[in-house]
Amino acid sequence: MSEAPESIETSPVVTPDVAESVQNQGVEVVQTEAPTEAQVVKTKSKKKRTKDPALYHTRKARIQVDPDSVNTDDRPPQTGTVYNIWFNKWSGGDKEDEKFNQKKADGRCSIARDSGYTRADKVPGSYFCLYFARGLCTQGHKCEFLHRLPVLTDMFSPTTDCFGRDRFFDYRDDMGGIGSISRVNRTLYVGRIHVSDAAKAGALDEIVSRHFSEWGDVDRIRVLHDKGVAFVTYATEVNAQFAKEAMAHQSLDSGEVLNVRWATQDPDPLAQAREQRRLEENAAEAIKRLLPQEYVDELEGRAKKSKPLLEGYEEDDSEKLKRIMNNQKEAGAEPAEEVKQIEPAPEPAAPVSTDTGMFNKSSLSALKALKKKKKTKAKVEE
């Protein structure tokens, strides 16, 4: 995937044993402010760390937390009277209301500062580092997981999220956790935002936008000013998954502890229709990819219309598809497995004129561009 240069001498700050225990057990770690010289991995080239996250593959991933500072004692602080060894938790004693005693996260990821290549970049289909998203990874470039922002081409099986955790069929009752297989959810609920006077004056949109646009392409943000709640929709689900981990228990500008959950389905019929339309557009796109290119081109008017077999005889769509497939077979180009299965092509009841765009905006714009080209050509010839 990435051309990670090998064999650069590294300061051995990570002892494998400690590091492994950190990855496996999820102990509480303390982030050190501004790592000292020894912790920063020295790269061979003495270039300054570039701030552009797009260039992540040209530099090593930064060690976010000093491994020595990690508390390897996985016993939780005593919060009750009895220690339950089965659940690794204290029980008994006065119960505190967890909802209002949320602790702020120990670290925070900064894509511009921390992202870089790791060992995982050599393995196609690697998962993202959960500790990186939380700003707590002690491994740096030796991590077996990706240390970068998810992009459109990062696709994972619907049964796991981008961190490789198994998803469930239903959401948890509190809409927290990993998420569900049953629905493609790109929207996060962000609660307990502190609404200050400045925020009341309209700055809240700006604050939320600034903090959440770091984790990927944002589709839309809706802030409910009076409630201190925001809904953030990302362009892809993977970005939403990453943002959820990255922003959980973080604070915006005023030191609050955010409550980040999956959003439930938007009850607004407008929003539902928009979501459905998007799904259908995706479906059309997927189907276009399954059909032979020549056929799609012809449908959308991008390619020249092939000559009809007989003069004045308008060819049926299904016949056209068959003919193109046969041509391909003759040419030796083996059509994809999927295409074979679509072969019983439709019988369109109504003749569809093939020189108008059939699918959506993209095809229409392609058509327009073609028209323009023709016009300009004609003008040039004149």
Partner: protein, 356 residues
């Protein structure tokens, strides 16, 4: 384990020798070692116990994060019903995610359950009931394993027949219909009366509604552009991409879809000027959405939903009065597309109760 089968509810527990898994999950190697565990886990869809298969996919390398062995997650019945891989839940025929496959083939409600679908029920018993019914239905067909056409694969194929026709007929003007429907609906919204009470004249008076990009303001501290006419389906990242490409680094971008406007603040004055220069006459078309851009400092765009909505209506009204027609560029293109064939009403779920 045979004893447990005396329970009527346990009769339908799955006990199989072969999983239904896609070739992508199995990998290229035809020889693969699997472990089989009877009633090893509960199915993620119907919650009944099923036979779990585990194997090590070929692509997994030692020490990599993909070294995790794969396993089946849903039972055979559910996988048949949805025609999906037991492991990755992608469609077995086309390799598509189920949501996209369903949108394309309109086979959401197919198979068993008497109109109920697994995804809509939250009750465990209901889920099990639906799955059992479906299994029963398959048995009644008596072609469970011998004839492939009964299973989901056959259904997918028959559904694929109408596929192209549906897409071709409906795509170009679908959005228009949908918008027409919404227009009819909107005035009945109860929010209207409430929103009328919100006073946005003060907010609107501070916005550069009549401004443009041509006279570059003398105040060098202004590094921001205001834009309005943002349609509901114009994603923020499209706007961000445009301004980053034409101008430079953006320090802040706020889009309030409800208010149909937003502003972009650039890091340097030069970037802002460059971006403004790239826009001719204060008009900008993104994704078929016609925007008007002007210089202006970031302002409050309404601090409650009602205010934002009112502001949005005001801006829309203003743009309509100024631009003559509505500010949808795509609409013009769509008018040129073929009109809907008469009597060919394909009803999309997305259209809801809109009459065709």
């Amino acid at each position: 384990m045979q004893t447990t089968k005396s329970d009527t509810n346990k009769i339908t527990w799955e006990d199989t020798e072969v999983p239904a898994v896609c070739t992508q999950c199995l990998g290229a190697n035809p020889y693969i070692r699997m472990t089989k565990e009877k009633y090893g886990a509960e199915c993620k869809m119907c919650t009944r116990p099923f036979t779990v298969f585990r194997w090590q996919p070929e692509r997994a390398q030692k020490g990599s994060s993909r070294g995790k062995p794969l396993k089946t997650n849903v039972c055979l019945t559910c996988s048949r019903q949805k025609n999906c891989c037991q492991s990755c839940s992608l469609d077995l025929t086309y390799g598509l995610p189920l949501a996209i496959r369903d949108a394309a083939l309109k086979m959401e409600q197919e198979g068993g359950g008497g109109g109920l679908s697994l995804s809509s029920s939250s009750n465990t018993i209901t889920k099990q009931f639906i799955a059992q019914n479906y299994e029963e239905q398959l048995k009644q067909d008596q072609r469970l394993l011998t004839d492939n056409s009964v299973t989901g694969t056959g259904k997918a194929q028959s559904a694929a027949k109408g596929l192209l026709k549906q897409l071709a007929n409906a795509m170009p003007y679908r959005k228009e219909l949908y918008e027409k429907g919404q227009k009819d609906k909107r005035p009945a919204d109860s929010r209207d009366s409430k929103a009328l009470t919100a006073d946005v004249t003060k907010i609107a008076s501070k916005l550069p509604l009549t401004g443009s990009t041509t006279p570059v303001p003398k105040d060098a501290s202004i590094k921001s552009l205001f834009f309005m006419g943002v349609e509901d389906d114009l994603p923020e990242h499209v706007i961000r991409k445009h301004f980053t490409e034409t101008g430079g680094t953006i320090s802040l971008l706020t889009v309030v879809h409800r208010a149909h406007c937003g502003y972009v603040v650039f890091e340097t004055r030069a970037a802002a000027e460059k971006a403004a220069a790239a826009i001719s006459g204060g008009r900008l078309v993104l994704n078929g959405c016609r925007l008007r851009v002007a210089w202006g400092k970031p302002r409050n765009l309404g601090s409650s939903s009602d205010e934002q909505w009112k502001l949005g209506q005001m801006i829309k009204k203003y743009l309509r009065s100024k631009g003559g027609s509505s500010n949808k560029d795509g609409a013009a293109g769509r008018d040129e597309a073929a009109p809907p064939p008469p009597g060919q009403g394909i009803k999309y779920q997305s259209q809801g109760n809109i009459e065709l």
